[in-house]
């Protein structure tokens, strides 16, 4: 028997054999309710947090702490006029938000909320998970891939330019970021020896994979933000560029479905992240030692799972409050030239490592030593190559023909300004005014000279104004004139 199967068998899978149809329906309804309530809560959570980050209060009127604010908002959205655009492809226009929202609801079926627990007031003992399958992680990838059709088709069927651009962007985005996402997950699958979520959680009993597989986690985290179209990767719906992107022409209920799907998708990718990298429902380290693992049994795990889930949601909001949107070409370059190669290299490393651990029976030690030596040599070569100066990387950048002269002159002026002490930066060297680069000095402001001259010695004033040319220094003066 090969080692792979040994590994797969050592990890206990969730046992669903006792589940009756009623229990399954109950679980499904519970998940549905959980998702809907979570979305209502997430709306409030996000607005309050963003408010705090922007030094304002956020919604605080309806209900305690403004908690009920989402309900009137949702009702208002549903009662708006439902507009169908004249140029739309009606059937697909209606179908697209449905695809989005249905596939968003489907992912949580394979997320384990906890181990086996007894349902209160009954004798039923069942895993706190709707179902599990040997290919659960692939199922998640497939469902997210399906969900993107909602965005792509919605943008196309609106028959309008901005939504179309949004959906083209989203297609390219998903193709590239789903790739790095799957590659990041592959290394987890290799070390867990299974694709079933319950077994992946079981495999993290001693170490969470976030520690063992940090690079994979970083890649997954970045791609998951790209996958759910959140800032800084919200290019398909960039309101500054594309009005609203794919959802521009949607209103009322159909828009609400997109909105719902977006937030559920955030919960989905967060839940997968928690399950795959953060030990799923397992209690964090010091707590897991209390009372012989008491906190990893019964209903406690649900609490840990939810805490981890909402920490991830917090990070989503935090990112939105902090980062600016990427430009589209930067975003694609980052995906293809950074994320995918890193993920690929990491998968190879993990695969080799795992292969050595499992499949070499004779001379394991020797082989590993050799590999370490080889890796060391490679690293040394890479280091030497990195330290060698690259040739011809300066001044090659093509500029526009008519402005290249001006640009060069400006560059010359800048470098001279850097080198020659006491010489001022000529803002008009390129033919038009530009602000100074860091380290460049502006000539003394004529206005400042005029203001300070009557106060004392003229040469002293000139010196002072030379020394303080940065705007901070100048600010009090101007403020005074404004006040006066």
């Amino acid at each position: 028997m090969s080692p792979t199967t040994l590994l797969a068998q050592t990890a206990p899978a969730a046992d669903f054999s006792n589940d009756t149809l009623g229990v399954m329906i109950g679980k499904a309804v519970a998940i549905l309710l959980f998702l809907l309530l979570s979305v209502l809560f997430a709306l409030w959570f996000e607005r309050r947090l963003i408010g705090r980050m922007q030094q304002r209060l956020g919604p605080n009127v309806r209900g305690p702490l403004g908690l009920a604010q989402s309900i009137p908002d949702a009702l208002k959205l549903l009662l708006k006029e439902d507009i169908t655009v004249k140029g739309a492809d009606k059937f697909i226009y209606l179908l697209a938000p449905l695809i989005s929202v249905f596939s968003a609801f489907m992912v949580f079926a394979v997320i384990p909320f906890g181990p086996e627990a007894r349902i209160p007031f009954t004798d039923i003992v069942t895993p706190l998970q709707l179902t599990d399958m040997p290919v659960a992680v692939l199922y998640f990838l497939g469902i997210t891939a399906l969900g993107v059709y909602g965005i792509v088709l919605g943008g196309w069927s609106s028959g309008s330019t901005y939504p179309l651009l949004g959906s083209v962007r989203s297609t390219a985005q998903v193709i590239s970021y789903e790739l790095s996402m799957s590659l990041a997950l592959v290394s987890v699958l290799i070390v867990s020896g299974s694709m079933a979520t319950s077994q992946i959680v079981a495999a993290q009993e001693t170490t969470w994979w976030v520690f063992a597989l940090l690079p994979a986690f970083v890649v997954y985290f970045i791609s998951m933000v790209g996958e759910v179209n959140r800032l800084p990767f919200d290019l398909p719906e960039a309101e500054g560029e594309l009005v609203g992107g794919f959802q521009t022409e949607y209103s009322s209920m159909k828009f609400a479905w997109y909105y719902l799907a977006e937030y559920i998708n955030m919960l989905n990718v967060s839940a997968i992240m928690v399950t795959v990298f953060f030990g799923g429902w397992r209690a964090p380290w010091p707590l897991s030692q209390i009372g012989d693992g008491m906190l990893n049994e019964g209903w406690w795990p649900v609490l840990w799972f939810l805490l981890k889930l909402w920490t991830s949601m917090f990070v989503f909001v935090w990112l939105r409050g902090t980062l600016l949107r990427f430009r589209y070409d930067q975003f694609m370059r980052f995906g293809w030239k950074v994320l995918i190669p890193v993920a690929l290299a990491w998968v190879v490393i993990v695969a080799v490592w795992q292969g050595l651990q499992q499949f070499t029976v004779i001379g394991t030690y020797d082989l590993r030593t050799w590999l370490f030596a080889g890796a060391g040599v490679l690293l040394a070569i890479a280091l030497v190559l990195a330290l060698l100066p690259e040739k011809g990387d300066k001044g090659e950048k093509p500029a526009l023909a008519e402005h290249s002269d001006a640009a060069r002159r400006q560059q010359v002026a800048r470098t001279e300004g850097d080198q020659v002490e006491g010489e001022y930066f000529d803002a008009f060297a390129g033919g038009f005014p530009v602000p100074p680069m860091p380290g460049q000095k502006l000539p003394p402001s004529p206005r400042k000279v005029k203001v300070t001259t009557p106060a004392g010695d003229s040469s002293d004033a000139a010196q002072r104004s030379t020394a303080g040319t940065d705007p901070d220094d100048e600010a009090p003066d101007t403020k005074e004139t404004h006040d006066g």
């Binding site: 797969a8 697909i92 692939l138 993107v148 196309w156």
Partner: protein, 270 residues
């Protein structure tokens, strides 16, 4: 057929229902390949066919293949199709004229022949009794398939991998365009704009929005300056070149002017 059903494999009622619900849907959607005109609709129908096939795979005890089908086909291949459809023009519906005379008839005949052939071959074949995959899937389907792929068929696997890489490189070469002009970056554009401004031909500020004085939402109405003259560059270049610039209704402007005068005098009065 009854012989089959009596064999070791028993097909559950659930699967029967699933088949009779999904199979007609799959065939109907597949037929749109022949009869629908808009490529995007065909692509959507194709997605439906592929997803129902994935469900059939799962029903046929191949969960790994079923999910892989969704990931590969809907996640990558059909997405690529949609991307190209949007790239080459969404409504590029084809000409109805036949290049080769009678091609449709001949094709229909060939299709009929193919059906007859398949039926003939199929009816003569002696199919083995269904055995099911309970034994083969004992360690879960994914493990069973993996054992075959990385064991007995590892060479085929590597060949296919080489093929895939070749295809990727080939696609890059085919779709690659040589850059004949230097790339215009955002910095270059900003520099050009400021240079235009310095030489007095351009403006640093964004263009004025169209339709400011129009009473309806009009992208084709030029904005009016303070003197009441239309500002031509407030409309997008596309509309100007197409000749779709809206005509300014002078009566309406006078009307607006009158209202404006009225309100201003009112303010003075108040």
């Amino acid at each position: 057929m009854n012989v089959l059903a009596q064999a070791g494999l028993e097909i559950s009622t659930g699967e029967t229902v699933l088949f009779w619900v999904l199979a007609p849907i799959a065939v109907l959607c597949a037929l749109s390949l022949l009869f629908t005109r808009r490529p995007v609709r065909i692509a959507v129908a194709m997605i439906a066919v592929l997803v129902s096939l994935a469900v059939f795979y799962i029903a046929n005890e191949a969960p790994f293949l079923g999910v892989a089908q969704i990931v590969v086909y809907t996640g990558a291949i059909m997405m690529l199709f949609l991307f190209v459809i949007m790239l080459v023009g969404v409504d590029a519906s084809e000409a109805r004229t036949e290049r080769l005379p009678g091609q449709r008839l001949i094709a229909a005949g060939a299709g009929l022949g193919l059906i007859l052939l398949l039926v003939a071959v199929g009816s003569r074949a002696t199919l083995p009794q269904g055995q099911g995959l309970a034994a083969a899937n004992a360690d879960s389907n994914a493990v069973g398939v993996a054992r075959l792929i990385f064991g007995e068929y590892v060479f085929v696997f590597e060949l296919v991998a080489a093929l895939l890489i070749t295809a990727a490189v080939g696609a890059i070469i085919l779709a690659h365009r040589e850059r004949v002009e230097p790339k215009v970056t955002q910095a270059d554009l900003a520099r050009r704009r400021l240079a235009d401004y310095a030489s007095g031909t351009g403006s640093v500020a964004p263009r004025p929005a169209p339709g400011v004085y129009a009473r309806h939402n009009a992208a084709d109405m030029p904005a009016l300056d303070a003197a009441g003259e239309p500002i031509e560059h407030s409309i997008t270049t596309v509309l100007r070149i197409r000749g779709q610039r809206g005509e300014i209704d002078t009566d309406q402007i006078e009307q607006i002017e009158a209202t404006a005068d009225h309100t201003s005098t009112k303010e003075v009065d108040g």
